[in-house]
C-alpha cells in the first residue's frame, strides 16, 4: 500500500516500522509533526521533553536499556542537545538511536540556518540525508541498522522542503518490537577520563568502518553517465538537479558523513567537469578540496537560503552547462507594488497588551523565542533583543549588572514553554547573583508558535494522558524569588501598575501574565468591539496595537466584526471612549 505522506509523517511511519519503542523530542519547526504523527501509533511510547537535551538523554537511557529510540528536534535544538550528543558517540548504543535534525535553509521559521552536517561531523556521527518522503522513511530503518551494527547514534538530517513536502510512501509491516538485553558495562557507558580515552580510540575504528560502509551503501548511487559534466548532490537538491539536468551524470549521496571517498574519486575521474550542488555550507566540497579533487560548488551556488529548480537553471545556464530558456512568463515589470504580509499576533492574543505596555513605558526588553517575538515587530516594537530560547533572563541580568542606564528599566519576557525549556536556570542565576531584574512569564498555557503542543504546565502529555501540572508560581518562589505576581494581560492598567512596582523593587521579581492563547478556544474572548463614530477623533492610537481587526476608514477607526476577538484592549487604549463593547457577541 502507498500513501501520500509528508517527510515528517514518513519518518514517523519509519519509526513505527523499525520497531521503535521510545521517541522523545521538543517541538520546533520543521520537525514538530514527526512526534505528533508518531504519537498516533499507540504501541510506540512518545513524549515531549521540556527541551532537546532532556529528550536526547531520555532516548540515550532507553537505548542503553536495549530499546530502539528516536529523538527529534529542529536544527538549533541540536545545539541544546550537543553536550550529550558529542559524548554519546563515544559510548555508542545498545538499542539503535536515531536523532532527526530538521534544518531550515532560508529560515522560514528560525533564527539562524546552521548546517547540522557540520555538527554531526564534529560529533563524528554518521549522517543520512533523504531526498523524498519515501527515502525519509527508508532511512529511519537504515539508520537503526547502522546504529546497532556500528554501535553509534545516527543523524537523520532533513530540511524544511523534505519535512513539509509530500510524496508517495510504500507502507510495510513493522518489525517486531523487542528490547535487547541490558548488560552493565561501565567501560563503555561510564564516561570518565580513563574509560573515555579508550572509547575515543574505539570511536575512530567505528568511524573507519562507517567509511567502508559508505562506499557500499546503495543510498550513495551514481545515476547516468556522461563524461562531460558530473554532479554530486544530496537531499532535496537532488530533485532540483533531476528537474533541470535530467540526463546528466549524478552522484547522489544519501549518506554524507562519512563520505564514500573512493567512489567520489572514481566519479570525479570519469567526468570532465564536476559540480557540487549542496544547500548551505560547502560540507562535501571542502572535503573534496582536501582530497585534491577539482570541483565547483560555492563559487557558483549560494551558501545561504534554499535552492530551487529556477535557481539551479539560471546558475547552470550562466556556467554554460545548459542553454538559457527565453523567459516564458508574462512580462510583469510594471505590476503595482505588492505590500508584504508579515505574520502578526492574532486578534485576541494575550501577548499584545504586554508589549504595547512595555513600549509605552519606554522599557528596555530582552526577549525570547515564541509567538511573542512578533511583539518586537512594527507597529508594536516592544522587544529589543532575541537570540535563542531561554536567553532573555540571562541577558537582562547581564545588562543590569554593567549598565546604570539599563538598571532600572530592563525587563525580560519569556513564554511558558520557553521558561521551562531553558529559562529556569537563568532565573536561578538571577537570584543567586543578586540581580534585581523583572521577568515576565507570558503564560498562554501552551506552546503556541509551533502549533499548540502540550508542556509540563498544561496537565496533559503528548499521548493525551493527564499529567501533573507544574505550579509556575511555586517553582519561582522555590528558586528564591520573593516577589511573584500573577496578572491578567488583558487588564492593561493592572499590568502597568504591576510592572512599575516590580521594576522599582530592589530584588528579582517575576510577573506571570496568564491568559490562554486565543486560538485554544473557538469562542471569542468577549463581546466584539464597536466604534462610536461620534466620539472617534481619528487619532490612530488604536492602530499602535497592530491588531488585524482594526483599521482606519475615512479617518475613523473601524473594527472588523469577523476578525475581532473581543479581547477589549483597544477599548482601554482609546482616550476618547470611541471603542465600546458591542451588544451582540455573535456575528
Amino acid at each position: 500500500m502507498k500513501n501520500l505522506l509528508s517527510g515528517n509523517a514518513a519518518i514517523a511511519r519509519g519509526a513505527y516500522e523499525a520497531g521503535v519503542i521510545l521517541a522523545a523530542g521538543y517541538p520546533g519547526t520543521p520537525s514538530t509533526e514527526i512526534l505528533e504523527n508518531l504519537s498516533r501509533y499507540k504501541n510506540v511510547y512518545s513524549e515531549w521533553a521540556p527541551n532537546e537535551k532532556v529528550a536526547l538523554e531520555v532516548a540515550l537511557g532507553s537505548s542503553f536499556s536495549g530499546a530502539r529510540s528516536l529523538v527529534t528536534m529542529k536544527h538549533v535544538g541540536v545545539n541544546v542537545a550537543a553536550d550529550p550528543l558529542l559524548t554519546s558517540a563515544y559510548t555508542g548504543v545498545n538499542g539503535g538511536l536515531v536523532l532527526v535534525s530538521a534544518d531550515d535553509p532560508g529560515m522560514h521559521s528560525s533564527q539562524n540556518e546552521q548546517d547540522n552536517r557540520r555538527l554531526a561531523a564534529l560529533a563524528k556521527l554518521p549522517v543520512l540525508e533523504p531526498a523524498s518522503s519515501q527515502e525519509a522513511k527508508e532511512m529511519v530503518l537504515q539508520g537503526f541498522e547502522i546504529s546497532e551494527k556500528y554501535d553509534i547514534p545516527v543523524i537523520l538530517r532533513i530540511t524544511t522542503r523534505i519535512a513539509h513536502s509530500q510524496g508517495y510512501v510504500l507502507l510495510k509491516d513493522p518489525v517486531s518490537r523487542e528490547v535487547r538485553e541490558y548488560n552493565k558495562n561501565p567501560r563503555k557507558n561510564l564516561m570518565v577520563p580513563g574509560y573515555a580515552r579508550m572509547r575515543r580510540i574505539d570511536l575512530d575504528k567505528r568511524v573507519e568502518n562507517l567509511r567502508l560502509y559508505s562506499e557500499d551503501t546503495p543510498v550513495n548511487c551514481i545515476e547516468g553517465s556522461s563524461s562531460a559534466v558530473g554532479i554530486i548532490t544530496s537531499g532535496v537538491s537532488y530533485q532540483y538537479v533531476k528537474e533541470v539536468l535530467p540526463n546528466t551524470a549524478v552522484f547522489k549521496l544519501g549518506m554524507t558523513n562519512p563520505l564514500p571517498v573512493q567512489r567520489i574519486k572514481e566519479f570525479a575521474g570519469s567526468v570532465e567537469k564536476l559540480y557540487i550542488v549542496e544547500e548551505l555550507e560547502p560540507f562535501i566540497e571542502e572535503q573534496l578540496q582536501i582530497l585534491g579533487i577539482n570541483a565547483t560548488g560555492k563559487d557558483l551556488f549560494p551558501n545561504t537560503g534554499e535552492f530551487s529548480p529556477g535557481l539551479l537553471r539560471s546558475i547552470f545556464a550562466r556556467a554554460g552547462v545548459l542553454e538559457e530558456d527565453e523567459h516564458k512568463n508574462a512580462e510583469i515589470d510594471d505590476a503595482p507594488a505588492v505590500p508584504g504580509r508579515p505574520p502578526v499576533l492574532c486578534p485576541g492574543c494575550p501577548h499584545r497588551g504586554v508589549f504595547y505596555t512595555l513600549r509605552k513605558m519606554k522599557l528596555s526588553v530582552t526577549g525570547d523565542i515564541g509567538c511573542y517575538t512578533l511583539g518586537g515587530l512594527p507597529p508594536i516594537e516592544g522587544i529589543d533583543s532575541c537570540v535563542c530560547m531561554g536567553a532573555s533572563i540571562g541577558m537582562a541580568h547581564g545588562a543590569e549588572k554593567v549598565s546604570p542606564v539599563m538598571k532600572d528599566k530592563t525587563v525580560a519576557v519569556i513564554g511558558d514553554s520557553t521558561f521551562m525549556h531553558s529559562g529556569i536556570t537563568g532565573l536561578l542565576n538571577l537570584v543567586y547573583n543578586k540581580g534585581t531584574s523583572t521577568v515576565i512569564i507570558l503564560d498562554n498555557r501552551t506552546t503556541a508558535m509551533t502549533g499548540h503542543q502540550d508542556h509540563p504546565a498544561t496537565g496533559c502529555t503528548l499521548m493525551g494522558e493527564k499529567a501533573p501540572e507544574l505550579d509556575i508560581e511555586a517553582l519561582c518562589r522555590a528558586l528564591g524569588v520573593n516577589r511573584v505576581n500573577t496578572v491578567d494581560p488583558l487588564d492593561l492598567s493592572q499590568l502597568k501598575e504591576t510592572i512599575k512596582n516590580e521594576i522599582d523593587a530592589a530584588e528579582p521579581s517575576v510577573i506571570i501574565a496568564r491568559r490562554p492563547c486565543a486560538l485554544l478556544s473557538k469562542e471569542p474572548v468577549g463581546p466584539r468591539v464597536e466604534v462610536d463614530l461620534e466620539s472617534c477623533e481619528g487619532c490612530g492610537a488604536c492602530l499602535k496595537l497592530g491588531c488585524p481587526a482594526i483599521s482606519m476608514q475615512e479617518d475613523k477607526a473601524s473594527v472588523d466584526p469577523f476578525t475581532c476577538n473581543g479581547c477589549g484592549i483597544c477599548i482601554q487604549v482609546c482616550k476618547f471612549g470611541a471603542l465600546v463593547k458591542g451588544g451582540n457577541s455573535s456575528v
Binding site: L4, T29, P30, H108, S109, T160, R161, H164, S165, Q166, G167, Y168, V236, Q239, Y240, K242, E243, S308, P309, G310, R313, H327, K328, N329, A330, E331, I332, A335, P336, A337, V338, P339, G340, R341, P342, P343, V344, L345, C346, C371, L374, P378, P379, T450, G451, L519, G540, L543, G546, P548, I550, S551, M552
Partner: protein
C-alpha cells in the same frame, strides 16, 4: 514523458488553502498521478501569506515549481494572486477569488493595497477567471466553503475527471459538512463557462 502539471494555491492563513490542497491531492491520487506537494506552514496561522505547490505527472522530482512555469494558479485572495503572478507561465490559467484581506501594514496605514489588482491581472493574463467565491459559498449555505467553490472552478481546468473529485471530497471532508461542500464544489464548477 510530459512535463508535470504545476499548480499553485495561494492565499492568507486561515482561508482553507490546506484543506483545498488535500482534496486536490486526493483527487489526483485517485486519478493515478505521481504527486509532489510542498507547503510552508509555521507562520500560516499568524495571518501570513500561504502558498501550496502541487505537481502532478507521470514522474515528479522536485517538490517546488520553477518560477515562470506554473500552469494553474488558484488564488484565494486578490493581492496574493499578484504576489505570485511571476510564478506563472505565459499562457497559464488563473482563477482568483474576488476578495481582499488587507495586510496589517495596510491596516496600520504604512502601506497601500493596490487599487487595480484584478484589472492588472486580467490585462496580463487574458481569460483569467474571477469569482465571487465567498458569495457563491454563502448561497450554498456557508461562506467558509469558499475554498471548495474555488476548487470546483479549478476542477474544470484539470486533467482529473469528476468522479475522482467526488471521491476526494468524500474522503477528505468531514461527513457533517459534506453536503454543503459538494454543493459548493458544483457551484464553482458551473460558475466557469
Amino acid at each position: 514523458m510530459c512535463k508535470p502539471v504545476d499548480i499553485l494555491l495561494v492565499g492568507v492563513g486561515g482561508q482553507g488553502t490546506i484543506l483545498a490542497s488535500k482534496v486536490l491531492c486526493a483527487a489526483a491520487e485517485a486519478a493515478g498521478f505521481d504527486i509532489k506537494m510542498s507547503e510552508i506552514h509555521g507562520m500560516a496561522q499568524r495571518g501570513g501569506s500561504v502558498v501550496t505547490q502541487v505537481r502532478l505527472g507521470e514522474k515528479v522530482y522536485s517538490p517546488l515549481i520553477e518560477e515562470g512555469c506554473a500552469d494553474i494558479m488558484l488564488s484565494f485572495e486578490k493581492l496574493e494572486a499578484l504576489r505570485w503572478l511571476h510564478w506563472m507561465k505565459n499562457d497559464g490559467t488563473i482563477i482568483v477569488n474576488n476578495y481582499a484581506v488587507a495586510p496589517v501594514p495596510v491596516l496600520a496605514g504604512v502601506a497601500e493595497y493596490p487599487a487595480n489588482v484584478l484589472e492588472y491581472i486580467e490585462e496580463k493574463v487574458p481569460g483569467c477567471t474571477i469569482l465571487h467565491a465567498v458569495e457563491i459559498a454563502k448561497s450554498c449555505g456557508n461562506s467558509k466553503a469558499a475554498n471548495v467553490v474555488l476548487l470546483g472552478a479549478m476542477a474544470r481546468e484539470m486533467p482529473v475527471s469528476r468522479e475522482f473529485w467526488q471521491q476526494a471530497l468524500d474522503s477528505v471532508i468531514p461527513p457533517k459538512l459534506l453536503d454543503i461542500n459538494k454543493k459548493a464544489f458544483d457551484a464553482g464548477y458551473n460558475a466557469v463557462n
